[in-house]
Amino acid sequence: MAFTFAAFCYMLALLLTAALIFFAIWHIIAFDELKTDYKNPIDQCNTLNPLVLPEYLIHFFFCVMFFCAAEWLTLFLNLPLLAYHVWRYMSRPVMSCPGLYDPTTIMNADILAYCQKEGWCKLAFYLLSFFYYLYGCDKKKNLSVAMEILHCTLVDSSKNDRRVRHPQTTKT
């Protein structure tokens, strides 16, 4: 089975996007918990802040991979999100540990609303890109692989058929 590098990129991106979707859902739930006073901002920020950089690095990683695989359209679609991540991280409040969320300001209604909206938008984006990678996999690159797999299964089944039929013919 011949996997092209681009195909491999797409499959990896598919898996990683699943992880990113998970992070986005985590963010949404966390902000909702803050809004309904279920949790304390300090604890919540301590759980959210460590997730921010990994998310950004994962996204950056498969952007780099697409660049290496010369998948320009996909790269082009991901670039705005990359720029947004860079801008967001640059304009974070002064803090010594990596992260974006400051417990003293996160409870302001405008910041909380912004973070929630950001969570939903990212979830939508990651879902769309998940399906895009899935389709992209199928359409372009793994067609040959799919054909090969199909051929192998057919060949096997036909071989079985021949074996089944063969004794009959030999009998008569």
């Binding site: 006073d37 901002p41 300090i42 010594s96 003293t104 409870m107 209604a109 405008d110």
Partner: protein, 791 residues
């Protein structure tokens, strides 16, 4: 106002002297007291009432208790005028009214204060005018300067009222019909001002019970069984009946010539007023340029009264005092769209723990609260019948518990609406153990002092020690009160003050990277038991470090040590710092470039450089430790970073730029006064505050020194009478189906005597749907205060 026609008394003159034109026996003005109670203003002339309100007359004679520690003495003229007015108003008002208007120069407030000529008009009677006026309690947040001071409002006198000076209650009755108030501005002259003031006088009773200061001892609360309270919260009646000019006309024309002729352009005024109906963009008549170098005294002589909401009289009577709880718009717009159109911020200013003269304290077994929104019962609920009440915030119908049907004040049954909780909008409940997470903590005070060479040079230590020695007994607390001391330069020093020792023992920890507490027991000692040792320490402390040559300051490690010491109990930490912390955790760089100080690019470095202090403050807040910062530095000390330690732990910040005990006597005096107030003022520990609003309104941003623990819950490690807060409110749903909007602030705290109490303030405001009504009800001072807090 420096009027050309009047002599400006020189600074040396007339301090304490009575001007002869004053109508009679003005008591000599006391110098020593700061008299910063901004009440009872300058009308030391017969314009003021001859009949002082019963409850408050005696309270204003001597007010040693300072209310405004942040304002340097003499710098705000308003303060000065307070000083003039204070001893004079009541006794003087009993003198005979003069038959013609005279100019009564006010006695000088202090050295350097020019006189403000006051025009007085005869009045046959009046109640004490500023009973309710003005207690613009400056002890707001340190960031907020006095509310009245920078504004320049003049009330235009209504033409009809000007003609007949009606003594009595005419204005009072008229005030009910007109929309209330406050559009400031207008082409006022001094006569206009005086006339309008005079009219203001003649309205009904004013009970100024909640203005002024409390006695220094924290036991000025009336208990429930004491019965009714004369007047209760002050009633602010609209003094002016006309529609005032709207808020955009702040830059009004102020004619400094207090000439005696009547309004120069009265006809113009009346024409303008007739045409006005709250149209937002209206040009001001008679705008003229003002030369600020000539006319130094542009600000109004007396504090401006808060506008009153346009409510029915019985609601007005019980409404919360504007000194405690104030809204920027006294008529709430119905929809967010209307609010946006008005382009004014909607917010609340809150001074919850303010010193009050009268406070109903309720010791009831059940505290009646709404079942769904947990609002405390307040004067603005509706009783559907004797046994059910409807919450005014969430509109839920609740049951009245049986105990509530009995009214202990009048000893009658079956009248729940006569109970004190429903008759007063500011009440205090004694909280049961449901409101406690842990047994109430004792008062614990820790003093963290910088003793580096810089600090010795500045010389604050002697001032501090003297002040503390003097006020040691007046610090709020009971027999469980504990104190401790920590000093630091490049190492951290602890003091063992155990009872049996003959003298205090100093323990030095030089490992500042990992500060540990040397001995666990007697670093924070019971004040009663170790009083002599504490006094010995305070007496010897200044001399101990007089030869110090250490130039470094390890503030971060000292704060970490303080945190470790106070973690078990919580309490208050007072930090005195005189330079940039240069050693250990949290050390700061001098990031200011002196050449850029006056650059036009904009002020830089307004945010913290490191989040060490913020994290420390959050940890302190979690352990109910409040950190107050006294910054006495002469050079750049990065207050932007250091302030975080107080901001998020509900502490206060006191800043004395260029402090030196010899070269800067003004700052020295300020420190002394501030320390006296700081040591003796009331304090509440482990406090939380929640602000609730009517359905449809919500609070979206909080400003002040606290930590926002959840959407409307503020965690305040310490609360003190000088702390004030501002919040911004947004209108989420239309308020079309409610005619009243209410706000309730509930502060749950532990008093210094270890009692758990809840102080509840409720404010009620009408809802309007016309833009003109919104403008008519805008409170300019409150708006300015909110903007100052937001910035």
């Amino acid at each position: 106002m420096s009027a050309p026609g009047y002599t400006n008394r020189s600074s040396s003159a007339s301090f304490g002297q009575n001007s002869p034109a004053n109508g009679g026996a003005a008591p000599p003005f006391q110098n020593g007291e700061t008299g910063r109670i901004m009440v009872r203003f300058c009308l030391s002339h017969p314009l003021a009432s001859p009949a002082p309100p019963p409850s408050s007359s005696a309270q204003y004679s001597h007010q040693p208790f300072q209310q405004t520690p942040y304002a340097p003495p003499g710098s705000y003229y308003v303060q000065q005028s307070c000083q003039t007015s204070l001893p004079q108003t009541q006794p003087q008002t009993q003198t005979q009214p003069q038959p013609q208007p005279t100019l009564v120069p006010a006695p000088a407030a202090g050295p350097g204060a020019p006189l403000y000529p006051i025009v007085s008009y005869p009045s046959a009677h009046g109640c004490s005018q500023y009973g309710t006026l003005s207690s613009l309690q400056n002890p707001s947040t340190p960031g907020v300067t006095q509310i009245a001071a920078p504004l320049h409002h003049y009330n235009t006198a209504p033409p009809p009222c000007a003609t007949g000076v009606q003594p009595g209650y005419a204005a009072g009755s008229a005030g009910q019909t007109a929309p209330t108030v406050n559009g400031q501005g207008g082409a006022g002259t001094s006569e206009v001002l005086a006339v309008s003031i005079e009219i203001q006088l003649n309205c009904g009773e004013t009970s100024s019970s909640t203005t002024g200061s409390a006695s220094p001892a924290p036991n000025s609360y009336d208990s429930l069984e004491g019965g009714s309270f004369p007047g209760g919260p002050p009633s602010h009646f609209t003094k002016n009946t006309q529609v005032r000019k709207n808020v955009t006309e702040l830059i009004c024309a102020f004619d400094p010539l207090p000439s005696l002729q009547p309004f120069p352009n009265l006809s113009q005024l009346s024409a303008a007023l007739g045409g006005l109906s709250g149209v937002p963009e209206l040009e001001v008549e008679a705008l003229r340029p003002v030369n600020l170098l000539q006319e130094r005294n542009l600000l109004p002589q007396r504090p401006q009264e808060a506008p009153e909401p346009n409510l029915s009289p019985d609601l007005k009577k019980v409404n919360c005092s504007p000194q405690t709880f104030r809204c920027t718009l006294t008529s709430i717009p119905q929809t967010q769209a209307l609010l946006n159109k008005a382009r004014l911020p909607l917010g609340l200013l809150l001074h919850p723990f303010r010193d009050l003269q009268q406070l109903p304290v309720i010791t009831s077994n059940t505290i009646v609260r709404c079942r769904s929104c947990r609002t405390y019962i307040n004067p603005f609920v509706t009783f559907l019948d004797q046994h059910r009440w409807k919450c005014n915030l969430c509109y839920r119908v609740n049951d009245v518990p049986d105990e509530f049907m009995y009214n202990p004040v009048s000893r009658s049954y079956g009248e729940p609406h006569m109970r004190p909780e429903v008759q007063n909008s500011t009440v205090e409940f004694i909280a049961s153990s449901d409101y406690m997470l842990r047994p109430p903590q004792p008062a614990v005070y820790l003093f963290v002092l910088d003793v580096s060479h810089n600090a010795v040079e500045a010389g604050y230590l002697k001032v501090f020690c003297d002040s503390l020695l003097e006020n040691l007994d007046k610090m709020p607390g009971d027999s469980r009160t504990r104190v401790g001391f920590l000093t630091f330069d490049s190492t951290v020093h602890f003091y063992n003050l155990q009872e049996g020792l003959s003298q205090p023992q100093m323990l030095v920890v030089s490992d500042i990277d990992d500060v540990f507490i040397p001995s666990h027991d007697s670093l924070m000692v019971n004040l009663k038991e170790s009083r002599e040792l504490v006094k010995d320490l305070l007496t010897s402390l200044p001399a101990m470090f007089s030869q110090s040559r250490e130039t470094h300051s390890a503030l971060g490690p000292a704060l970490q040590a303080a945190f470790k010491l106070m973690s078990p109990t919580g309490g208050r930490v007072s930090v005195f710092q005189t330079q940039l912390p240069s050693l250990g955790a949290g050390k700061l760089q001098s990031r200011e470039d002196p050449n850029q100080r006056s650059s036009t690019k904009g002020v830089q470095h307004l945010g913290p450089a490191t989040d060490f202090y913020k994290k420390l403050a959050l940890d302190c807040s979690g352990q109910q430790i409040g950190v107050d910062l006294f910054l006495l530095s002469s050079q750049y000390a990065d207050l932007a970073s250091l302030a975080c330690v107080s901001k998020y732990s509900a502490g206060s910040i006191f800043y004395y730029p260029s402090f030196h005990h010899v070269h800067n006597p003004a700052q020295l005096q300020k420190l002394q006064k501030d320390l006296e107030r700081y040591f003796t003022r009331k304090i509440g520990f482990e406090a939380v505050m929640r602000i609730r609003c009517t359905k449809g309104l919500s609070i979206h941003t909080f400003h002040g020194n606290f930590f926002v623990r959840s959407t409307d819950l503020l965690s305040l490690a310490n609360v003190n009478p000088d702390s004030a807060f501002a919040v911004q409110v947004s209108i989420e749903d239309s308020l079309a189906d409610s005619s009243l909007a209410c706000f309730q602030a509930a502060l749950l705290y532990t008093s210094s005597k270890g009692k758990r109490r809840i102080r509840v303030h409720t404010l009620c405001l009408p809802v309007v749907n016309q833009l003109s009504d919104v403008y008519a009800g805008a409170d300019v001072q409150a708006i300015t205060c909110l903007l100052a807090n937001m910035g």
